[in-house]
Symmetry: C2
């Protein structure tokens, strides 16, 4: 089960012992060690191009739209007027691509710590890096943590598109990060963070939701289907300063025509509502 | 990537080329070649006991409840009075275990073609085979196809819990099988069949739904999350003779207390409603 053996790549991570996903590789397009992480771009036989950071699959061309659309539109469509949005992480450009589609978004600020991920994505993953071309976007290379310390009450929505909490992203799952996001939000602001899978990482889901609930009057976990992530399921923790918000009843609904014109391949108003319905064992574990 | 190499089992199937799931094996509990298929039972480090037929994962102790509860309760809770239920396949006993829980079900008939799957499950997979102990159940070893030819207008609900359409289960995904189920149903009867994943088997999903629509006035596809199936997503085609049925509005709702008393770990009324919300690309492919 060695990685890159016989032209197959196998994901191995301490977070998910005893089970693993592998795919067949056509070509290794790029490999480097940046200041922060190991960056690998593969071309595969069944999943198109794949970005791997520190040995963990971040996104594949076949299914990335599910993750990107959901982490963007779930919080945006829960906010009454999401004019100014901060993206922390998201160095491949996919989240910016989706946020820029929202009709009420006027300004996007993105802070990504690793400029090499940005450059590699621009070269090898143009279907996501197209997000960097939006005239709405200002892209900063730096630490999202430090950035927010100097930007108080400035954003309507903050989306944290991070890797898992092993390595550089650990701090983005901690209480002081959520407190900092809260201080960077305007009144009624909303945050949305990648928060792991309930199948294999229930403790991560539970802890992240608990932290979010500590900081925000309203908080919830929503789920989506991404086949190339461990368990095929990943979720998001969403917190809102608006105590009147009803997460599974979006303030902005999209028609079939809207879905088409925005090239939405996963998100719809019905999918939004369904994303907050959680299996019984998850409700039990999260005390919902 | 050989199966059972270095104590890891790897699933390899022509239906899902270029990507595969593997898990670490503690012990091979049983292996035999029955008249119909290769039967393998493994004990694993992270997924408990696992049933593998012809090299394909059928169920793991960790996540089988999602599949079993959904294929049982989705059709049962769409029917006004599901007194008599036929299960075709389901030789591990898990679907019978769930169907027997439903308060309105009085009689369950199950037809499984391979008695060796039943016996192996009774010995090694008691958490599912417990379903065979229900006093509501009559278990027949035989061909579901042949069985239904002699049972006209007899059942309220028919659940087909089959393996994928390679090998012995091919016929269960064809038009004449759906026509036969229709003839075995009472008025307003409902069928529910395993129907593949939209991520990797869209043609199977599309064809099965089309066949179901040809035979039934109302038909839909519903989805659930099963991490050890390819893509982590699998779905069901549901067809009803009741043209008034609204699939995502169950006729019987369960309270939190009901979920607890029936030991439901996945299914709930909210999950039922959410299961019919499909991603935009799926709606587009299925012309929904």
């Amino acid at each position: 089960m060695d990685t890159l053996k016989k032209n197959w790549f196998t994901e191995v991570c301490e977070m998910w012992p005893g089970g693993t996903f592998s795919f067949e590789v056509k070509e290794v397009l790029h490999r480097e060690k940046s200041k922060y992480q190991d960056i690998l771009v593969l071309d595969t036989t069944s999943f198109g191009r794949v970005l791997v950071l520190d040995g963990i699959i971040q996104c594949t061309q076949k299914d990335e739209f599910s993750y990107q659309e959901m982490i963007a539109f779930l919080p945006l469509c829960c906010h009454k007027n999401p004019e100014k949005v901060l993206i922390v992480g998201g160095g491949d450009g996919g989240v910016a691509r989706e946020v820029a589609k929202h009709p009420l978004v006027k300004e996007i600020v993105q802070v990504e710590i690793d400029d090499r991920v940005i450059e590699v994505s621009k070269k090898y993953l143009p279907f996501m890096a197209v997000g960097f071309e939006s005239p709405k976007l200002k892209l900063h290379v730096g630490d999202g943590f430090e950035f927010m310390k100097n930007h108080s009450q400035e954003f309507d929505v903050i989306i944290t598109d991070s890797s898992d909490p092993v390595g550089p992203a650990v701090s983005l799952f901690q209480e002081n990060y959520f407190a900092l996001m809260k201080s960077a939000l305007k009144p009624n602001g909303i945050v949305c963070s990648q928060a792991g899978t309930f199948w294999y990482s229930m403790e991560l889901v539970s802890n992240t939701l608990k932290i979010c609930k500590n900081q925000f009057p309203k908080a919830a976990y929503a789920t989506t289907s991404v086949p190339t992530y461990p368990s095929g399921q990943i979720g998001f923790v969403i917190g809102s300063l608006d105590s009147e918000v009803i997460f599974d009843n979006p303030t902005l609904s999209f028609s079939r025509q809207d879905e088409l014109s925005m090239n939405l391949r996963y998100y719809s108003t019905d999918i939004h509502k369904a994303a907050f319905a959680l299996p019984t064992f998850v409700k039990n574990e999260l005390n919902l």
